[in-house]
């Protein structure tokens, strides 16, 4: 499916990359609850793919299936073209970094990191060397003899990363690895993580519910909804062209208006509660119009102009979010916070360029 978007690639994936992991129509139900509902996608060698979705969309179940911890009801997991259904977890060579890390509480940092190497029966010298190497890589040299129960959240996260990297997994899966950390720490670890994954050219699958993490880390994103891939593409594609209402809403794009496409004076326009706007030729019938909050401005000057009244404003640091009522329809705008912002109750004029701000969701 994502192959259709190849011509739109904005950096990221090289065209000649070999597919390493292929997820082929996986179904998995727990009782009546369908956790995975036919999800399909690929991960290329050395690529980082983010699985982005709300909690309960089946992300963690998918990781368990790929790791071989859960058997799918149907569908297949391929590695380098081979179905690995019969390969038990410990022989798949996939690393999994768990949410909340699952560090072994009865082993110290060194032994936690060394565990996977011991399972591969390396000699003591190589184990020692590799453990020191990965501990240094994650910025925790000299931590080997520490008790894992007395580490801070960030340190635990790094130990868990070191542990899953140590055996050099063919595929590294990370399940919300930054979930429980505070914002500043998350930002720093995110950058470190990206550097580590890129330097090692590690093929990785990164599960998160946080779009910013996905944007920052991933070459491509698979947006998951109810056990299916709702959209697959680069971060830019996903944000610029959400493929469905679900994706748009999940990404926080809430200016969604029902509209009808018709031809007026030989031109295609969409009719909505807030006015008529030109649209591309291929749109037709009943659609949903997405208005980007960052592409609208206060005052006139754009090729489309609408009038409304400010309902609320929210200060968000670098930006201010303004909620404006236009003909009973609520619209959100995102404005730089250095600007003079009208107060609730004031009448305002909004303008935008339809080709930048407007998108049609069929």
């Amino acid at each position: 499916m994502w192959a259709n978007f190849d011509h739109l690639l904005i950096g990221g994936r090289e065209p000649d990359m070999k597919p390493a992991l292929r997820i082929q129509g996986i179904y998995k139900a727990f009782g009546k609850n369908r956790a995975l509902d036919g999800i399909t996608f690929e991960v290329a060698l050395g690529e980082t793919v983010a699985l982005l979705g709300p909690s309960g969309c089946g992300k963690s179940t998918l990781l368990a299936v790929i790791a071989g911890l859960e058997a799918p009801d149907s569908g297949a997991v391929h590695w380098a073209g081979e179905d690995i259904a019969a390969t038990p977890t410990h022989q798949r060579g996939f690393g999994l970094m768990f949410q909340d890390y699952a560090l072994f509480p009865h082993k110290n940092v060194f032994e936690n990191v060394a565990f996977g190497l011991r399972m591969h029966t390396l000699d003591q010298g190589s184990i020692q060397a590799r453990v020191n190497e990965v501990l240094t890589l994650v910025g925790l040299p000299e931590f080997g003899s520490r008790d894992v129960n007395n580490l801070s959240g960030g340190e635990q996260q790094r130990v868990a990363l070191a542990r899953s990297l140590a055996p050099k997994p063919r595929l590294l899966m990370l399940d919300e690895p930054l979930g429980s950390l505070d914002r500043a720490l998350r930002q720093r670890l995110l950058e470190d993580l990206r550097a580590i994954l890129k330097d090692a050219q590690q093929t990785a699958l990164y599960v998160t519910h946080d779009q910013e993490e996905a944007y920052a880390l991933a070459d491509r994103i698979v947006v998951m909804d109810a056990g299916r891939a709702a959209q697959i593409g680069t971060p830019q594609q996903i944000y610029r062209q959400p493929a469905s209402l679900f994706v748009a809403r999940f990404l926080g794009l809430d200016n969604l208006l029902p509209g009808t496409v018709r031809t007026v004076e030989g031109k295609r326009v969409v009719e909505t509660a807030i006015g008529q706007f030109p649209v591309p030729e291929d749109a037709e019938g009943g659609v949903t119009v997405l208005l980007r909050p960052e592409a609208m401005h206060l005052g006139g000057g754009g090729s489309s102009t609408i009038n409304g009244r400010v309902v609320a404003r929210t200060f968000r640091g670098s930006s201010i979010r303004l909620r404006v009522e236009v003909n009973t329809q609520l619209l959100d705008l995102e404005l730089p916070s250095y600007m003079a912002i009208p107060s609730p109750g004031e009448a305002v004029q909004l303008s935008f360029e339809p080709q930048d701000a407007l998108q049609i969701l069929q």
Binding site: L69, G93, A102, F104, P105, F115, N149, R163, S164, A166
Partner: protein, 569 residues
């Protein structure tokens, strides 16, 4: 403020400590005095000789190895069940948990009677085999064998393994094992290097507790083992009651006490290690549905075995108490087999209209009376002790006194009874004729259970709950009414029920100190079981069934009232 607080804690401790001093330490001291007091009279040498005599040595040896073997078998039976309860979701799980808990609270005499009803010479199995193969004598010899002792011990203590290991296991994060698997560990490596080491403290603690119970086992050995088998506990009883050799009984008691206290100390240490900083997970998270064929087979087999093992003897007991299957002595060869209430009717009758014969039913009123007094005493003493233990500022007292409270738990019932005999039959405390003697002994046995179930409930009322209520506008009186009381009230009922059922079923101490004219239910069952005749047998089973129903109801009440996961037992 701090000073006043510590005086309050001290005041709370006063009553429980006086009680323990009078009815635990004083009797134990008297045992010591009797044991060593005779030394001046030159008898110590004789006792010492007796202690190293082959007879006593073999008793000691038997006590140890039967306990070790029973513990091993209990683990073998319990661990698969613990795994099942810990890791899988299935219908009837709560029921299974409750059912497997029933044997643990059954009085030993009920368990003995139950196995007798199932496998004894007059039990279902033998009667069935005799009827089918037309045999004159019961073919299966179960009673008075080592097998009977082992089976009864496993029956009794499996629930300890199920609960202690199962509960711990059910909160152990399954991702730890999964993490090992993704790091290249085989199933076996993940189990042996991650799951098992993490479970080990729980398994060791459970095994040790089982061992302590098997080590001090009394009723099971006496009734099911018969005269051929004697543990330390049984030997103390024989020496005191049959041979009137109090000094010997006292020395053996001290030996017993030393062993159990050492074991209990190790156990306490292990339990404290259980609180290793593991990230324990809610059970909903760690459990999965049964999907694969292997899981179905495992679940089915384990369930059938556990349910059969835990319910058959008890059901067999109840059924047998309503069945006439053999000729009574007065009847001739022909017997009308069928359902009968005769055994129950017989309980209230005095067939020879003898003035000296107390119908067995009188034991029911006696026992209920004792149990009521015990519940009151145990609550009256346990509540102040628990209040003191749950005080945050009383930590100095708690550290010192908490183990003290547990001492009676580590002391065998027969030893407690013996202490009462040697200490409380002479001034200053002559309670020989007092109807309080038995409730006092039972209170001693029940006291640790009461404290252990009350304290966590009291501690669970975090200051935050009270603060939350206050912020929401509750006055102090309303906080007590709507927060404290509902939380503690249930715990109080649970504790009282514990004390009540413990008293009803208590056998070891009662066997030594009960007055013959006022026997308790277990004593009458014992007496009836050791007498010949189908009628005595039937009455023993009828009385056991009544005791079983009362105890099981108490247990079920506790299960229902218990606030989730609060309380140790």
């Amino acid at each position: 403020m701090k000073f006043a607080q510590s005086w309050r804690v001290a005041a709370l401790w006063a009553l429980p400590l006086v009680f323990l001093a009078l009815f635990y330490f004083y009797p134990l001291g008297s045992i010591l005095a009797v044991g060593f007091g005779r030394a001046q009279a030159g008898e110590l040498a004789a006792i010492f000789t007796a202690l190293v005599s082959p007879g006593i040595r073999s008793v000691l040896w038997f006590t140890l190895w039967q306990a070790a073997l029973s513990t091993l078998l209990t683990l073998l039976v319990g661990l698969p069940g613990a795994y099942l309860l810990a890791r899988f979701e299935f219908r009837g799980k709560a029921l299974l948990r409750t059912l497997t808990g029933v044997p643990f609270v059954m009085p030993t005499l009920v368990v003995a009677a139950a196995f007798n009803a199932l496998l004894g010479p007059r039990g279902w199995l033998n009667l069935a085999l005799m009827a089918i193969f037309d045999l004159a004598a019961p073919p299966v010899q179960f009673i008075n064998t080592l097998g009977a002792i082992l089976v009864a011990h496993v029956f009794y203590n499996t629930t300890i393994v199920l609960r202690m290991v199962g509960d711990f296991w059910s909160r152990l994060d399954p991702r730890l094992g999964q993490a090992a698997r993704t790091l290249g560990a085989t199933r076996w490596q993940a189990a042996s290097q991650v799951t098992l080491p993490l479970l080990l403290p729980a398994i060791a603690a459970a095994a040790l507790l089982v061992f302590i119970f098997d080590f001090t086992s009394f009723g099971v050995i006496l009734v099911l083992g018969g005269p051929r088998f004697s543990t330390l506990e049984v030997e103390i009883y024989y020496q005191a009651v049959s041979l009137f050799n109090l000094p010997m009984a006292a020395v053996l008691s001290m030996l017993q006490l030393a062993c159990t206290l050492a074991l209990t100390a190790i156990y306490t240490h292990l339990v404290s290690r259980l609180s290793r900083p593991l990230t324990l997970r809610p059970q909903a998270y760690t459990q999965k549905q049964i999907i694969t064929r292997w899981q179905r087979i495992f679940t089915g087999a384990t369930l059938i075995f556990l349910l059969g093992f835990f319910t058959l003897p008890l059901l067999g007991l109840a059924a047998r108490s309503f069945s006439r299957l053999e000729p009574e002595r007065r009847q001739r060869s022909h017997v009308e087999t069928g359902v009968t209430l005769d055994f129950y009717k017989e309980l209230v009758e005095n067939p020879r209209a003898s003035l000296f014969y107390a119908p067995p039913a009188r034991a029911i009123t006696t026992s209920l009376g004792y149990a009521g007094i015990t519940a009151l005493l145990a609550l009256g003493l346990g509540l102040p002790a628990s209040l003191a233990l749950s005080q945050r500022d009383g930590s100095v007292y708690s550290r010192l006194l908490d183990p003290l409270i547990m001492l009676p738990l580590g002391t065998s019932a027969v030893t407690l009874g013996l202490g009462f005999i040697v200490a409380l039959d002479q001034p200053p405390l002559d309670l020989r004729a007092s109807p309080l003697l038995i409730p006092l002994a039972h209170t001693l046995v029940a006291f640790p259970f009461v404290v252990r179930s009350l304290t966590p409930a009291l501690q669970s009322i975090q200051p935050r709950l009270r603060q939350a209520a206050a912020v929401l506008g509750a006055a102090p009186a309303q906080i007590r009414r709507y927060i404290d009381l509902p939380l503690v009230g249930r715990a109080l009922i649970v504790a009282a029920t514990f004390a009540f059922t413990i008293s009803l079923g208590e056998f070891g101490a009662s066997a030594l100190i009960a007055r013959p004219e006022y026997p308790t239910i277990p004593l009458v069952i014992y007496r009836l079981l050791s007498q010949p005749g189908a009628l005595n047998y039937g009455q023993a089973l009828a009385l056991s069934t009544i005791l079983m129903v009362v105890t099981a109801s108490g247990m079920l009440a506790i299960e229902r009232l218990r606030i989730a996961n609060v309380g140790e037992f």
